[in-house]
Symmetry: C2
Amino acid sequence: MNPKLQWLRNTMSSSNLQGLIISNPINIKYLTNIEAEGVLLLTRKENIYITDGRYIEHVHSILTLYDEIIVYDRNDVSKDDYENFFMFCENVGFEENYVTYAQYKEFMRTYKINHLVETEYMIEKQRMIKDKEEISHLQKACEITDNCFNYLLTFIQPGMTEKQIADEIEEYYKKRTDGLSFETIVASGENTSKPHAVPTERKIKEQDIITIDMGCKVNGYCSDMTRTFFVGSIPEAIKPVYDLVLKNQIQTLETIKDGVSTRLLTKMVENDFKLNGYDLLHSLGHGVGMEIHEAPYISYRSDTQLKENMVVTNEPGIYLPGKFGIRIEDTVQVTKFGCISLTKSEKNYIII
Amino acid sequence: MNPKLQWLRNTMSSSNLQGLIISNPINIKYLTNIEAEGVLLLTRKENIYITDGRYIEHVHSILTLYDEIIVYDRNDVSKDDYENFFMFCENVGFEENYVTYAQYKEFMRTYKINHLVETEYMIEKQRMIKDKEEISHLQKACEITDNCFNYLLTFIQPGMTEKQIADEIEEYYKKRTDGLSFETIVASGENTSKPHAVPTERKIKEQDIITIDMGCKVNGYCSDMTRTFFVGSIPEAIKPVYDLVLKNQIQTLETIKDGVSTRLLTKMVENDFKLNGYDLLHSLGHGVGMEIHEAPYISYRSDTQLKENMVVTNEPGIYLPGKFGIRIEDTVQVTKFGCISLTKSEKNYIII
């Protein structure tokens, strides 16, 4: 059996689950490499993937005997089959954070399960720790993001619109990767005060501040990086805010390592911001992998211990409505004794 | 109060709901024009939108006094506030097809609701009937789609790849609209036999058959049109299949009107296809609006009565694996006595 499925089966048995229904397509892709519409059932003895006629050919081309997955066409599965899959299973897990309430009720009807129990992010927790292959995809995505950013520093000129710059980033990624990992943020001037700004027709001008938050996908794995930089020169009023954000970004980078609490990391930044009269409006970071935002979350609301080979963002930001905003973000890999920044672009004052 | 919220409140009271929790962002945008992360609560007396610091500025810029919506920052809402929102409400509705099981349990905890009840697509049903403004957006999106198709007939040349054509369509839309309403299908030769073909590097050649399924978004509203056409001439073997699809497309167009059953429409096409030895592999059509696929669905599985000012697609198709496929699709507006095709491109044999 493939090692990811084997790991999951071990977790199931230590959680007293005799069966599991996996419907989140990202979790299915993670475990099996299958990209299709369907459901993966782990029953007492078998791994079963149920899909429909459109995908059977694709699914068979992905799986090998080694995966030990039996594939069914939905049209060939009878009511009795469904009821038999989880017979004699005391507890069957389902993804309560993906499955809608309507689907939950449908599962109860279809599979006739005694106890349909919440799995509390069982697979998402497994996905937090990246293996060698996953890390190499993430490294590649981050490397291309650095290259794209370096290219942008020569490309951007006063007179261009935010949209034009966002389009150029999309083009750059399209030629080299599976495309964007999220909608690029290009914000300039006072637009930088919105953390989730959407690129507008505003034209870049001399003395502008520009924030770009960008990332791509390589083999299904995402990168995520933000830099804030300047046209011509840096207004004196902005410098102390930039310095404060950068100081906290570097301090976080130096603190991240196996065993550190995500809440502690957040508190450190929050306190330093508060001391200087600012707030930390959003999370300090989030996991990055097959999804651009995934566990673990680095915020005061979460309390996870970072572990070796988690990959997370480190992105403090300060936003002054109607004035400007600063965010500096890297994607970093947690190690035993520290962390490795996978995005490596310049962070000191950048002036174009 | 804005008329869409007023309409929804009327439906609520006729369904014996004293409160409603709306979390699907498309439904929130439909009702309020807000595009943000948050939840809309209709309580006994108030309309409340709860969001977070990142969106407060945007939300206030969208809403007017006329909307009668009170905006809260999530951080300013206390546990008591949450418990008070639906106090004295016997039944509170939620979107069981959007809300996950975990969120459902969270709602129960947070709002302390007696009966959290399924709303069975209440808002999606309201969205089926388009008002004047919505129809004018849909008309515009369809008009630009017709123009794009006419442009393509002069643009496409033997030697170009399917991908090149798809890229050209994306460029065309990007300059004039909010962009694609779905990933364009450009299929040529035997690729046309796959209803959901993804554009490939295959080059267009003389005697080819080409299917293009395309649409754009204007002010958040989608268009959807498919045409199948030919390079140089039409192979004799294809003509009878094209004629059969076109005949059924026109027959459906002539049957669609207020009061007609979606199942009846589907059955008519299915029967005629069967008589000629073919199957109808996919639905005959679907609603089009803020989503490219939305209610009502026109298939043998659905049984809805079409109503005035619904906007739906009419897209019969026949697919012969390894050989070719034909699909002809328009977006049409249902009227009291018939329907109006919003996409108006040529449907008789098109040869480029």
